[in-house]
Amino acid sequence: MTSAPATTEVAHLDLTRKPRPWDTAARAIFRVAAALTIAITLGILVALIVPSIEFFSEVPINEFLFGTRWAPRFADASFGVVPLVTATAWTTVIALFFAIPLGLGAAIFMSEFAHKRTRKILKPVLEVLAGIPTVVYGYFAVQFIQATVFRDWLNLDTGSFSVLSAGFVMGIMIIPTIASISEDAMSAVPNSLRQGSAALGANRRQTSLKVVFPAALSGIIAAIVLGISRAVGETMIVALAAGQQARIVGGPLEAGQTMTGFIANAALGDSRVGSLEYNTLFAVGLLLFLITLLINMISIWIVRRFREAY
């Protein structure tokens, strides 16, 4: 019977009600800091949409999305974004062509085959690839891969720039992204599955390809999708190595200007705020933002929809 009155007494001693101005102020600061991240997103939307609206009041949206000639600075200006989109598609697909097999190979090796010590060395070394500045990759793509390897050594029929050299180097840059996220996903697959597979007589190759890989598929797809979004948004490599001429790219050895390449190049010329040239920059930026946003949403959806919970 002693406990009942004690409880009432504690209820009266409500410590949280005591006014603590410092606590309140500090918590408010923390909350404002967190809310600021929302403000950044809203800021991006406003910053991209407002000039884009002005742009689309002068250029019909159909001409922008489906026009096949991109010449915003010519006297007879034309604003068809298709050439920029095809160049972005080429560099992205080439990057993934290299990054997916190499990244997944590295991930399977590190998760299923490597000794603990080997993995401890390999993982940080692969991470170095992610830490190299993209402008250094761009230098390497245009000076070594394109000029020395493609033209001097292989005698390929190509100019100073190509979507192949840009895409290839970008693919190597993405390897750590794909490898480390896929490896995390495969390491998270419980060992009981591997044991079950082994008990049925499967060897490690069969276990990793037919048991672990499918079980980790949602994480692996999320890794690839993140790789796509990085390839689409990468700027410096394509600005240096893919070329500056906006034209529809017909093959991997041709040069072409990507969406980000256009943004980087247009930024070099000083365009007046509010001019059509300035607004063009933001229309392309908005398209780029929407594409990466869509890709990110697909990634989040895939992880939620297909995650195998163990």
């Binding site: 923390f30 997103t41 830490g131 190759r205 600005a239 240096l240 930026g285």
Partner: protein, 301 residues
């Protein structure tokens, strides 16, 4: 049994039981392909570093540090770019770290996780981390237009763009370090009468500092290598003076490398390679510092 020793036990079992399967031609070819995937990435990395050093070897001398950009590659150097990078990164650190840590403290220690606004912030931070860097340049460009700042080539403007770029990275790293501090530490502090704020300030946050420092240094090294947003903000200029304050004009190392690479003369390509080597050394130093902090000060609970 810990997961790792379990995995080893499994590997041993698998190796013992299915010995014939492990050394079948198919399995060996598979293992070789996996090895080649890793080897390809490593060889690429080695070739990139070696060719950059070889290309830039002749220009890796004191002129790089003392000379200003010039039309003759023999007389040009990266002095303003080196100092500009230091100013921009320093300003970025001052702007981002307090803000990122404060936001992370709110999300990890105080926010009601089931509230819709907290979930929105959470998804939003993840999304911000995946937005292309060049978009942050456009955001800053738009903001400057709105604020009526016509001279965009100022250290603080560039730092603002890079701050927004790395803010999600700092927040995510700080949250992970805070989460790694065991609940007993907080409970102990609260039990002896500390307020939640005192608990965070005197116990949780100090315990998380090594992790926050490591994550912040890695985020800043990303900012140091980034050129795209600054290109949009008029970061590509030829300076004949040393950047000396947050309102000073600036250019940075990656922008200087971009400019030299896109010039036709071979002399500038050598300079670009030499500056790339210097930039890689700076990044290596920052990463080494991050690793040292992690290994020496990180608490294992």
């Amino acid at each position: 049994m810990s997961p790792k020793s379990m995995q080893e036990a499994v590997h041993k079992t698998v190796r013992g039981r299915a010995k014939g399967g492990e050394s079948s031609p198919k399995s060996i070819v598979f293992l070789i392909i996996l090895w080649l995937a890793i080897l390809f990435a490593l060889v690429f990395l080695a070739v990139l570093i070696v060719t950059t050093i070889v290309d830039g070897w002749n220009r890796l001398d004191s002129r790089l540090f003392t000379e200003y950009p010039a039309s003759d590659p023999e007389e040009a150097g990266a002095r303003p770019a080196i100092l500009g990078s230091l100013w921009v990164i320093g300003t970025t650190a001052v702007m981002t770290i307090p803000l990122g840590v404060a936001a992370a403290i709110h999300m990890e220690e105080f926010a009601n996780r089931h509230h819709w606004f907290s979930r929105l912030i959470e998804v939003n931070v993840q999304n911000l981390a995946a937005i292309p860097a060049v978009i942050y340049g456009m955001l800053t460009l738009g903001a400057m237009g709105l604020m009526g700042v016509s001279n965009k080539n100022q250290v603080w403007v560039g730092a603002l763009a890079l701050s927004m770029l790395i803010l999600p990275v700092v927040i995510i790293a700080t949250r992970e370090s805070l989460r790694a501090v065991p609940a007993e530490i907080r409970q102990g502090s609260l039990a002896v009468g500390a307020t939640p704020l005192q608990t965070v300030w005197r116990n949780t946050l100090p315990a998380a500092v090594p992790g926050i420092a490591t994550g912040s240094i890695l985020a800043l090294s990303r900012a140091l290598g980034e050129a795209a947003p600054l290109l949009l903000l008029g970061g590509l200029v030829f300076l004949s003076f040393d950047p000396n304050g947050i309102t000073s004009g600036y250019t940075t190392m990656p922008i200087q490398i971009f400019n030299w690479t896109s010039r036709p003369q071979a002399g500038f390509h050598e300079l670009a390679a030499a500056a790339s080597v210097l930039l890689l050394v700076m990044l290596l130093a920052m990463n080494a510092l991050a690793i040292v902090i992690r290994n020496r000060y990180q608490k294992r609970w």
